[in-house]
């Protein structure tokens, strides 16, 4: 299992389009993908392959998300997520 923290860097946050991009990438992998956000001191964990799940986190610009991956292709998956966050989901 691997975990990495990302900061949401696109202005509009993880709305439908970035969430969809993330989920598309997650669904291409066999590993389990979980996204965690601390809300009011509590960790909310959602399935990274669920677009509603990601949107439910309402992750806004500047907020932190922890992405947890577990499975044979976890490394590659994490790399791809890194790319998405680094490119601000191609929004700016």
């Amino acid at each position: 299992m691997k975990e990495k923290t990302f900061v949401v860097s696109n202005r509009l946050g993880m709305h439908a389009r970035p969430a969809a991009l993330f989920v598309h990438a997650a669904c291409r992998r066999t590993c389990r993908v979980e996204v965690v956000k601390a809300m009011n001191g509590e960790d909310v964990v959602v399935n990274g392959k669920s677009v509603m799940g990601i949107m439910m986190l309402a992750a806004a610009f500047g907020e932190k998300l922890r992405v947890r991956v577990d499975g044979p292709d976890e490394e590659a998956a994490l790399k791809e997520f890194e790319g998405l966050f680094a490119r601000k989901f191609d929004e700016e």
């Binding site: 709305h15 389009r17 989920v23 399935n47 669920s50 799940g53 949107m55 439910m56």
Partner: protein, 572 residues
């Protein structure tokens, strides 16, 4: 008279009778399913999923036809929701574990997600729950074999009033006599609001209890500019709003009467008027005003918001579609004028943080660095030339060598396609943008290789005057009436005509009715204009006398101050 204030979601004024839309009450009962039938119940749920996917395919076709690709993405989101494990896995699990009917399991699963969304503080995120409802409702109606109530019951033009409108309802507003709509829920960023704007239907949303206050048949005024809804308006209010509405209708009608009429001056000199097209979505508006073709199709949008450059197939499809729709009128496709900052986003090697991107790696410079991008676009354009009258335009040409290099790649693309057995037309004209001063000055040499010329005034003016329009310290120095600009424009027109070729002006200047006298007087062959300004510019052309304008330009060329020129033009 009651005035309520909501959120102005889509501009315009509508006056009419209300139609209150109450969607079917869906009552979902919990039914216990015998253990042996659970498998059947899951299968029934899967069948409903399949049917909903088919619905979405049909809706996608409709959105694509009516509103274009940008909005069809919405359907993609809905598809993703439908594939979401929260729906596919959780519902099936609930059916099996609790031995309940699919409808109940689904509504429970949706409710969990809904609760989460309702607690969100951020409006933008909260609004997304309507997309979930939309998908959920479709799914339920398939499970319950219940027809989804539609707007086709509306008789006569009405203002639609509803608690909430789902995006899928919004798509069918136009065909159902809806003048405008009013909803209790919703915000400016909801998909429903965005759809209303692109369909040009006035709308006010977020009125909280409008659907209770308003009864079917009530007279209502909807002011989409101010976000106001007036119920039982006083006669004075109706008169006032009717006047505002009439005025804009009269103006529109006057302009509308110019559709298909030639752009000819009072003394009989005819100009060609074409359109600037920014995305394929604008094609409908372009066809509506019946211009003489597309003078500038900007292809930049194809390269935005994506992680790799658009391929030949994708581009060829877009270009062919437009070429076919315009045929026999010409389609002028400009190769993408993207900047260096795009390169890294497209996964290519490129400069980071150029100090001055306007003078940096952009336009043909960038494409000559990445010739594969240029050749791909040339190939796609050439393939589209099979479907209509297509010509190519190169942006940011500053030297003969650039033009020659681009020509070579163009010829390669042609030969490749011919070798592959594609029957290309004999000649596809290749022209250049004149937007860098060196190209204007060296034009006689460039015209040995270029088939036509198009002047991009925005860049040309900024480079001639060395003014960055975005820099507020110097923005006031940006001046289309500067005598140096006028002399250079006259030079470009004269040199091009001496070579027996045609010159278009496609910059913002052509879309400004105030500068039209100057452009007419300069003797340009074609004005290429933004669709929304097209008829206004035509109106301006038709009000002028060619003899007056050419005389004015002749005089203006001797002036040394832009105020003199401006005054002269305003008098025409």
């Amino acid at each position: 008279m009651i005035v309520i204030k909501g959120v102005a979601a889509s501009p315009g004024i509508a006056i009419g009778k209300a139609y209150v839309f109450e969607p079917e009450e869906i009552v979902i009962n919990r039914l216990d399913i015998p253990k042996k039938d659970v498998r059947f119940e899951v299968r029934r749920f899967k069948a409903a999923l399949e049917a909903t996917f088919r619905d979405l395919d049909a809706a996608e076709g409709k959105v694509l036809r009516m509103l274009g690709k940008e909005h069809a993405r919405l359907i993609d989101t809905h598809r993703l929701i439908l594939k979401d494990p929260l729906i596919t896995k959780d519902v099936a699990k609930r059916i099996q574990k609790e031995c309940v009917n699919a409808e109940f399991a689904l509504s429970e699963a949706l409710e969990v997600v809904n609760q989460m969304f309702e607690q969100m503080a951020d409006e933008f995120f909260r609004e997304r729950r309507h997309d979930l409802f939309d998908v959920g409702k479709r799914l339920l109606s398939h499970l319950m074999k219940q027809e989804k109530k539609t707007l086709s019951d509306i008789k006569g033009p009405s203002i639609l009033v509803a608690r909430n409108l789902l995006p899928s309802d919004t798509i069918s507003l136009k065909e159902n006599n809806v003048l405008g709509f009013v909803t209790d829920l919703g915000g400016k960023t909801s998909h429903t609001a965005i759809l209303a704007q692109s369909m040009e239907i006035p709308a006010v949303v977020g009125l909280s209890d409008a659907s209770h206050r308003i009864k079917t048949g009530d007279k209502v005024i909807l002011d989409g500019e101010q976000g106001l809804v007036i119920i039982h308006p006083s006669p004075e209010a109706v008169v006032k709003y009717e006047k505002v509405r009439q005025k804009s209708i009269i103006e529109e009608a006057a302009l509308e009467s110019l559709v298909g009429v030639p752009a000819v001056t009072q003394d009989g000199r005819e100009f060609k008027m074409m359109l600037n097209l920014d995305t394929v979505e604008e094609l409908k508006a372009v066809l509506h005003v019946k211009g003489d073709g597309v003078g500038l199709f900007r292809t930049e949008y194809l390269y935005l918001n994506r992680s790799e450059a658009p391929g030949e197939e994708e581009q060829a499809k877009v270009y062919s579609h437009i070429a076919k729709s315009l045929d026999p009128l010409p389609l002028t496709i400009r190769t993408a004028d993207i900047g260096g900052d795009r390169l890294t986003q497209l996964g290519l090697e490129g400069p980071k943080n150029e100090m001055n991107p306007f003078m940096g790696l952009r336009g043909i410079r960038l494409f000559l660095r990445h010739t594969d991008l240029l050749k791909t676009q040339f190939r796609a354009i050439l393939r589209a030339s099979l479907h209509g009258h297509v010509q190519v335009l190169l942006p940011m040409v500053s030297s003969l060598r650039e033009l020659q290099s681009a020509r070579r790649i163009f010829a390669q693309a042609q030969q490749e396609l011919l070798a592959e057995g594609v029957k290309l037309p004999k000649k596809v004209p290749l022209g250049i943008m004149v937007e860098i001063p060196s190209a204007a000055i060296l034009l006689d040499a460039l015209l040995e290789e270029a088939d036509f010329v198009s002047i991009g005034t925005n860049d040309l003016i900024q480079y001639v005057l060395a003014v960055d329009r975005i820099n507020e310290e110097v923005a006031h120095l940006y001046d289309p009436y500067h005598p140096a600009v006028l002399r250079l424009l006259q030079h470009v027109v004269d040199v091009t005509h001496k070579h027996g070729k045609s010159v278009t002006l496609c910059g913002e200047m052509a879309s400004d009715p105030k500068s039209v006298p100057l452009l007419v007087g300069l003797g340009l062959d074609v004005l290429s204009v933004a669709p929304r300004m097209f008829l206004r510019v035509k109106q301006a052309v038709r009000a002028l006398k060619w003899s007056d304008t050419s005389e004015a330009v002749r005089r203006a060329l001797s002036f040394s101050d832009s105020d003199q020129i401006r005054r002269l033009v305003n008098e025409l």
